[in-house]
Amino acid sequence: MNKNIVKQAFLRSLPVMAGYIVLGMGFGIILRNAGYGVLWAAAMSLFIYAGSLQYVGVTLISGGASVVMTVITTIMVNARHLFYSISMLDKYKGAGKYKPYMIFALTDETYSLLCDGKAPEGGDPNAYRFMVSLFNHSYWVAGSIMGSLIGEHLPFSTAGIEFSMTALFVAAFTEQWMNSKDHLPALTGLLCSLVSLLIFGPGKFLIPAMLMITAALIIIGKIRDKKDGNKEVGKTSDKPGEPAYDTKIEELKEEAR
């Protein structure tokens, strides 16, 4: 792995650094207040590595939740990761030794940094993605430990710094928007989420929003197919790996650029 790849990955991960350290510290502080020390904070951030679930998890472990309750909560809060993995199937193909860790570390923020499929020229793109994942994970663990140890003694007001997370997604959204001619998927995401938020409320809107988005995108794909008179969407490939299919993937990659 060359130095340039590590440097490029570090630069790419910078926006997540502030967000993860702040959110990680928040988690460390809450966990400490619930009676669990720095080792628990480190263990949870190392092995679960899913921000919203860890926040909910504090209530689960301190409230003595049942095994069933913990399983259901984990699935509900983290179901969106299925979608991240599905959309990375192609990009993580051929990542070899880096792949298991990259899948394990595919958080919301890592996904938002890597989902455009871009990687610096002249290096192993998978080494780059691995390093971005690793940097993000280390910020999260470091933030949790810092929060558990020193969180309550900070000398300055950090009020509002959590907005860096929102800013990260807004910037990613704007970037996608400017690099794409087709704005319908982005608009579908915004609209379905808003409708779901209004119907189900802030605590429960995520899963319905995802189902609505997926359904809407499939319907849009089918309608466009009919218009174009081709059947590329919804039809499973007869012979996996046939040349026509590879061409299609190449086209998709081109568009992603």
């Binding site: 502030a18 263990a43 679960i48 299925l82 599905i86 394990f104 929102t166 982005a186 579908t188 915004l190």
Partner: protein, 102 residues
């Protein structure tokens, strides 16, 4: 001991969710999946924007105006400089200043 069990469940559950598509879809993914892989990212990013702003109360003071100003700041910087780090820094500092002085 119970804590370790629950933490273990959360860890393994999350790992399973992340690995499942990679384990189940072994060969070339069906075209529907490829299509979703292409159109889902922009849609999910849109969803995450809404997710981040889900607790903003627009019918009580300050009516979500600090968030609105900061979001416009981020979009403006992104269009102008096309650099995500700058956009995020400017937006976050803007938001913190509003929190501190308004």
């Amino acid at each position: 001991m119970r804590t370790a069990l629950l933490v273990g469940i959360m860890s393994i559950g999350t790992i399973l969710l992340r690995f499942l598509p990679f384990l189940v879809i072994r060969k070339e993914p069906p075209r529907l999946i490829s299509y979703l892989g292409k159109v889902l990212p922009p849609a999910i990013i849109g969803m995450l924007v809404i997710y981040c702003l889900k607790d903003v109360n627009i019918i009580a003071r300050p009516y979500g105006i600090p968030e609105l100003i900061a979001v416009i700041g981020v979009i403006g910087m992104q269009i102008w400089r096309k650099n995500a780090v700058i956009s995020i820094l400017v937006g976050t500092v803007l938001y913190m200043l509003i929190q501190a002085f308004v």
